[in-house]
């Protein structure tokens, strides 16, 4: 994923400021602070490590599997996970879950959220950046307010709307469509949480494109829509990629909305882990560790791919 973005590098002084008067104490400072900050985080990182290693081991690890600790490294957990054998329910009969289907469900939700967020905010971001219309300022202010506002606090009412809408949907599309509708609604509801921030971010990306580029196209005879599609969109591609990644991760990691709105039979990795841990003997945890590791992979991949962008977007005021 080649996300080479035109980002402001560091502060105004940038990296060039490396060798100033500061350097007097640099090395000692680096050492002391580096150690302190590192030690603060080390326990958590160690937990991540143990989780990942446990997924390759015959038992949950409480320390590193050094030679002689009697821990066997194995792929059995992953095999069981992909065969859907998560835990023995009664005797030797396993409850089976189709893990591939679960992954697909998670993907569908994540990609759905991505599509909705990107489409809505790429359009609205352009309007807020470039178009004059009545209430522009007020509306943007309202959207920022929503960004600060905790959307989850409204989940009861959002569910009430969902329940209310089930009637008409059942009538229109039939009973069998309800599971699909639940996915659809989950996606929209979850995407809405991301929308205010995404619009603001996207507006920022549009703001960076010089006006002259747009005018140039308008003078050449392009319509507003053509300008948006053929001139501006290609130039905010990095922004769209960034937004898509954030939206994807939001949909990918979601637990609450998926749990509340999705049909109970439709599991994602989050609800799958939730359910497995809740109803499981500890001995079978390594399989869950494998599921957790699997669940973590896209996050880590995007995490590494976006780095600086991530840091910048966060400092632009992302929910914390």
């Amino acid at each position: 994923m080649a996300l080479r973005l035109r980002l402001r590098r560091g502060g105004p002084a940038g990296e060039a400021a490396g060798a100033d008067v500061e350097t007097l104490e640099r090395r000692r400072l680096n050492l002391v602070l580096g150690l302190a900050v590192g030690l603060g985080l080390a326990p958590v990182l160690y937990l991540y490590l143990l989780l990942v290693l446990s997924s390759f081991s015959n038992t949950m690890l409480t320390s590193l599997p050094l030679p002689g600790s009697g821990v066997e490294l194995t792929l059995r957990n992953w095999e069981m996970l992909f065969r859907g054998q998560v835990a023995p329910a009664a005797g030797k009969i396993y409850t089976t879950r189709d893990i591939v289907l679960i992954i697909l469900n998670t993907l569908v939700v994540a990609l759905g959220v991505t599509a909705v967020v990107v489409a809505a905010s790429v359009m609205a971001g352009y309007a807020f950046s470039r178009l004059r219309f009545r209430w522009r300022r007020g509306l943007m202010e309202f959207i920022i307010l929503l960004h600060a506002f905790p959307g989850v606090a409204l989940i009861i009412a959002v569910y009430a709307v969902y329940v209310w809408s089930l009637g008409p949907v059942r009538e229109l599309l039939g009973r069998d469509s309800l599971a699909a509708y639940s996915v659809f609604y989950t996606v929209l509801a979850r995407a809405s949480l991301e929308i205010p921030m995404s619009i603001w971010l996207m507006k920022g990306f549009f703001d960076r494109i010089p006006w002259e580029v747009e005018w140039s196209a308008l003078i050449d005879g392009a319509s507003r829509f053509t300008v948006w599609r053929r001139i501006l969109l290609p130039q905010v591609k990095p922004g769209i990629a960034a937004l898509a990644i954030f939206a994807f991760l939001a949909g990918w990691e979601d637990l609450i909305y998926v749990r509340v709105f999705l049909y109970p039979q439709v599991k994602t990795l989050a609800t799958f882990i939730e359910e497995s841990v809740a109803g499981l003997e500890t001995a079978y945890l390594p399989v869950v560790a494998a599921a957790g590791t699997l669940y973590l992979i896209p996050t880590i991949v995007f995490f590494i791919a976006t780095q600086r962008l991530l840091l910048e977007a966060m400092s632009g005021g992302v929910k914390g």
Binding site: P210, E212, V213, W215, S216, A217, L218, I219, D220, G221, A222, T226, I231, P234, Q235, K237
Partner: protein, 365 residues
């Protein structure tokens, strides 16, 4: 091709008056330069002509056509922006072809026209590159090509040379002018570089604080500035200005400047009497003055001054002197090394007189 006329055009941004009741005629097929300092409203005028901005009041005509409320695409203008505004995601070819594609021309025609204009501007070998891979001068040519390819009635150029290095600027100046003559297109060129304006323009329009200060052929603007602003804005170094008082001897006004008396010509004297002035501003161009050991014979303007600084520029020296506490610059031949107390001498036909309150030239009063 077409003549462009602004009639009483103003443009306000909130409280800022960027363009203030401006009337200009940009003649058909001529090269007109809008010259003015930064923030004077030059770009705004250009954007008004292009249709990016709508005037707050006044009307804009292309020939007989009132285009005041027409959107830009119906005006058939080509605009080269200060920062070129090339589309970074398109190749040079696609950039140039874009206006034609929007018009829905067929690919064969597009291909022919793009190559034609590319040949004209010597950028044929760049067609496959993207703007990011071009130098400033190359980008400038691409922007120009994109503006020209649609055969506009009016070519608008917003400081297109300001991002180029000094040498390239000189070359392109000449090329641009030649190209315009060849195409016979109406061109409006914006710059704050007075040398560029002098060398390229058929007509210069000097703008300051949103108003037209003077318009006319370059030499006229240079030699007969209408007001103090134009006198000091044009020329390098700019014209010297010295405050002076008027003394009447036998009913004839004499001007006391830097301790000396100067007897103005009949025409100026009449103006001074007419307006009842007791103060004027005396101005002259550094290149019109010379330095002398002794006060000259005759009635040229002459006053004593002390040499303060000599800047040798190779082709000439710029000498800064101090006369009655005022700095005065004089351009001298390179071999002269003046020092000490000298006389600054200005031929009387080169002496400019201005009314101190309004800054207007007595010639234009």
């Amino acid at each position: 091709m077409v003549e462009v006329r602004l009639e009483g055009v103003s443009k306000r941004f909130g409280r800022v008056v960027a363009v203030d009741n401006v009337s200009i005629v940009f003649e058909d097929g001529r090269f007109t330069v809008l010259l003015g300092p930064s923030g004077s409203g030059k770009s705004t005028i250009l954007y008004l002509v292009a249709g990016v901005y709508k005037p707050s009041s006044g009307r804009i005509f292309f020939g007989d056509r009132d285009v005041t409320n027409l959107p830009p695409k119906e005006r058939n203008v080509g605009l080269v922006f200060q920062n070129y505004a090339l589309y970074p995601h398109m190749t040079v070819y696609e950039n140039i072809a874009f206006p034609l594609r929007l018009r829905g021309e067929d690919e064969a025609a597009i291909d022919r026209k793009v190559h034609e204009v590319a040949r004209l501007l010597h950028i044929e070998e760049l067609l496959d590159r993207r703007p990011g891979q071009l130098s400033g001068g190359q980008q400038q040519r691409v922007a120009l090509a994109r503006a020209l390819v649609k055969e506009p009635d009016v070519l608008l150029l917003d400081e297109p040379l300001s991002n180029l290095d000094a040498l390239l600027r000189l070359t392109i100046r000449g090329e641009l002018k030649k190209l315009q003559q060849k195409l016979g297109i109406t061109a409006i060129h914006v710059t704050h570089d007075q040398a560029e304006a002098m060398s390229m323009a058929d007509k210069i329009v000097v703008i300051d604080r949103g108003r037209v200060q003077q318009e006319g052929p370059p030499l006229e603007v240079y030699e007969r500035p209408r007001n103090l602003f134009v006198a000091t804005f044009i020329g390098s170094p700019p014209a010297n200005t010295l405050p002076a008082t008027v003394e009447h001897r036998d009913g004839y006004p004499l001007i006391r400047v830097a301790g000396s008396l100067y007897r103005p010509g009949e025409r100026h004297a009449a103006k001074i009497r007419e307006a009842g002035l007791d103060r004027v501003v005396v101005a002259f161009r550094p290149e019109h003055a010379r330095l002398a050991e002794h006060p000259p014979e005759g009635e040229d303007l002459a006053f004593e001054a002390e040499v303060y600084l000599v800047e040798p520029l190779g082709r000439e020296n710029i000498v800064t002197l101090e006369a009655a506490g005022m700095p005065v610059k004089v351009v001298t031949p390179p071999e002269e090394r003046p020092s000490g107390r000298l006389y600054v001498v200005v031929p009387r036909e080169r002496v400019l007189l201005f009314e101190p309150e309004t800054g207007l030239s007595l010639d234009h009063l």
